[in-house]
């Protein structure tokens, strides 16, 4: 029963059998999994499903199983950010989106593996070991929400939730052949999301189809006073599910097809853009001239914010604690032993970039470049309804390929980070394959205009069959 399925297909199965049987079949499938995509599996999910069968539930997700990234707080369920420093941590409260999902009747199957503290593009920096790509177990699933994408691709959850600071929903969606949305900054409350780079990150849904993305957005988006950057919107995302792109003006920024792009990825994305023309849209090449500086600006800002946000993990109140004669020694050892190498590198660089003498050169300069990157988008969106690019310049790379070279790994994020600097929404969806590996098309929209990019993605999906391909069961 478990496997690839849309929310509406699961609803039919629940009506036919029961929520309990559906949840049990997913838990069974997870037990046999070989991809290491869950950090925690909730056996208690069965009782929650029984409760829905017994008492009934009229929420839009009644009995629908869901997987949640391990950096989103779940009351009574381990939340570790795939880090040793939060080993054993059980949040005493739910994140805003978890409250919303529970109210809608969703059943939490488990927490998904990720790059430690969401710092990575491959899910290899997890304390629990890497997640394998369901399409090729020698390859990474992308990151940092690698577990959330892999469980959907492998049929170990019908839908999941990730977070996207510099591409962490879209990259794994592209590498695993699923759909993933990073909403406009401020759309989804970050209350209960364990912070990495607070001015850049948004929670986002992953699914096998665009329609499920809209369903989840209608539940998890919305104002929450506990996140001071939360914005009031009245959007109905399901209204965007219209198969019609006639008259849509698409911009194709040349900088996103730059050095290092895989020819098969380039071809697949151009084929997709030309297909939009057949569907009635028009496209034109354009330029976002500050793109090449976005990556450096992004990493400086993300690391600076991380150095402050991760200061709270000092062994005093929760998680791992080391020994020491005084607090400073205890905290310094706790952090040295509890954080992995990439997290430590980013905290050190962020601390350096904010320290006396370097603040203006690095942090302030990056914030000014951010303004220029954002302006590029403002100018482009005066002319275009949306922009289309490859999500990632290459298909999924091999496990271990970039582990020893942090900079090489950062460069993989070149097409996703400008979107977070500007705070605009962006969706990744499957648009082809190369040597059996999925390729992702990225569609970028104006602030709070998820409607246009969902409409474009939905229309593409309705008229193509890339999203119907499934990975083989792993031997």
């Amino acid at each position: 029963m478990a496997g690839w399925a849309s929310i509406s297909q699961i609803k039919e199965k629940i009506a036919e059998k029961s929520a309990e049987e559906v949840t049990a079949s997913y838990l069974e499938r997870i037990k046999k999994s070989k991809i290491n995509a869950y950090t925690t599996v909730c056996e208690g999910a069965i009782e929650k499903a029984q409760e829905i069968d017994d008492k009934g539930h009229n929420g839009p997700l009644a009995g629908i199983p869901i997987a949640i990234k391990d950096n989103i707080s779940t009351k009574g369920i381990y939340t570790t950010c795939s880090s040793k420093i939060l080993q054993g941590y059980v949040p005493p409260y739910d994140a805003h989106i978890v409250e919303r999902l529970k109210d809608a009747g969703a059943i939490i199957l488990g927490k998904t593996n990720m790059d430690e503290f969401a710092m990575g593009t491959s899910t290899e920096s997890s304390f629990y070991g890497p997640t394998l790509n369901p399409w090729d177990k020698e390859r990474v699933p992308g990151g940092s929400s690698g577990g959330s994408a892999a469980v959907v691709a492998a049929g170990e959850a019908p839908v999941s939730i990730g977070s996207d600071t510099g591409g962490s929903v879209r990259c794994p969606a592209a590498f695993c052949g699923v759909v993933g949305l990073k909403p406009t900054y401020g759309t989804i409350s970050r209350y209960g999301l364990i912070s990495y780079a607070n001015s850049l990150e948004q929670i986002g849904p992953l699914a096998t189809c665009v329609s499920d993305i809209a369903t989840l957005m209608d539940i998890i988006a919305g104002y929450d006073s506990r996140d001071s950057t939360s914005v009031k919107t009245e959007m109905v995302y399901k209204d965007a599910l219209v198969d019609d792109v006639s008259g849509m003006k698409i911009g194709v920024p040349e900088e996103y097809f730059g050095e290092g792009i895989d020819p098969a990825v380039e071809n697949a994305v151009w084929d997709a853009i030309q297909f939009f023309e057949e569907l009635g849209a028009s496209w034109e090449q354009t330029s976002l001239p500050h793109t090449s500086y976005a990556l450096a600006a992004y990493y400086i800002i993300a690391m600076s914010e991380a150095s402050s946000n991760l200061a709270r993990f000092d062994g005093t109140r929760y998680g791992y604690r080391s020994e020491g004669d005084n607090w400073h020694v205890m905290a310094s050892r706790t952090r040295a032993e509890g954080f992995g190498p990439e997290v430590k590198r980013r905290i050190l660089l962020g601390t350096y970039a904010l320290s006396a003498g370097y603040h203006d050169k690095y942090y302030l300069k990056a914030l000014k470049v951010r303004t220029l990157v954002k302006k590029d988008f403002d100018i482009a969106f005066k002319k275009f309804d949306c922009l289309m690019t490859p999500t990632m310049p290459t298909p999924a790379f091999r496990i271990g390929e970039k582990v020893e070279d942090p900079l090489a790994l950062y460069l993989a994020d070149v097409n996703t980070v400008p979107i977070n600097l500007a705070g605009v929404p962006s969706i990744s969806l499957p648009c082809g394959f190369t040597d059996g590996l999925p390729i992702g098309l990225q569609i970028i929209g104006k602030h709070f205009d998820e409607t246009t990019i969902l409409k474009a993605a939905y229309s593409f999906e309705q008229n193509t069959d890339h999203h119907t391909r499934r990975p083989q069961e792993m031997a």
Binding site: P92, I300, G319, R335, A336, K368
Partner: protein
């Protein structure tokens, strides 16, 4: 670009103990990244304002009303090191 000594100093600021045998590796890897960052020097940012965040929000206020918070025992539930309703930590000085 960043020396072993600077790595050790930043490690202290960030409260991350750096072992003697790690400092060199950090210095090399962090220097490569800093060198990449220095490409921003090329960008003309004269008269450009910094963007701290993109939300069109300045100050967010709420009414000063007392609200229910988590019970003390739940807040303390993630540590064994506690005493009389407080977190127990080694002395600071």
């Amino acid at each position: 670009m960043i020396t072993k000594e600077e790595v050790e100093h930043v490690g202290w600021l960030a409260r991350i103990e750096i072992h003697e045998n790690e400092a060199q590796d950090y210095a090399e890897k962090l220097s490569a990244v800093l060198e990449y960052f220095s490409q921003l020097d090329e960008v003309n940012t004269e008269n450009v304002e910094p963007t701290y965040h993109v939300a069109d929000i300045v100050n967010v206020f709420r009414d000063d009303v007392i609200r229910l918070s988590l019970p003390q025992e739940e807040v303390l539930s993630n540590t064994d090191k506690k005493q009389e309703g407080n977190f127990l930590a080694p002395r600071i000085m």
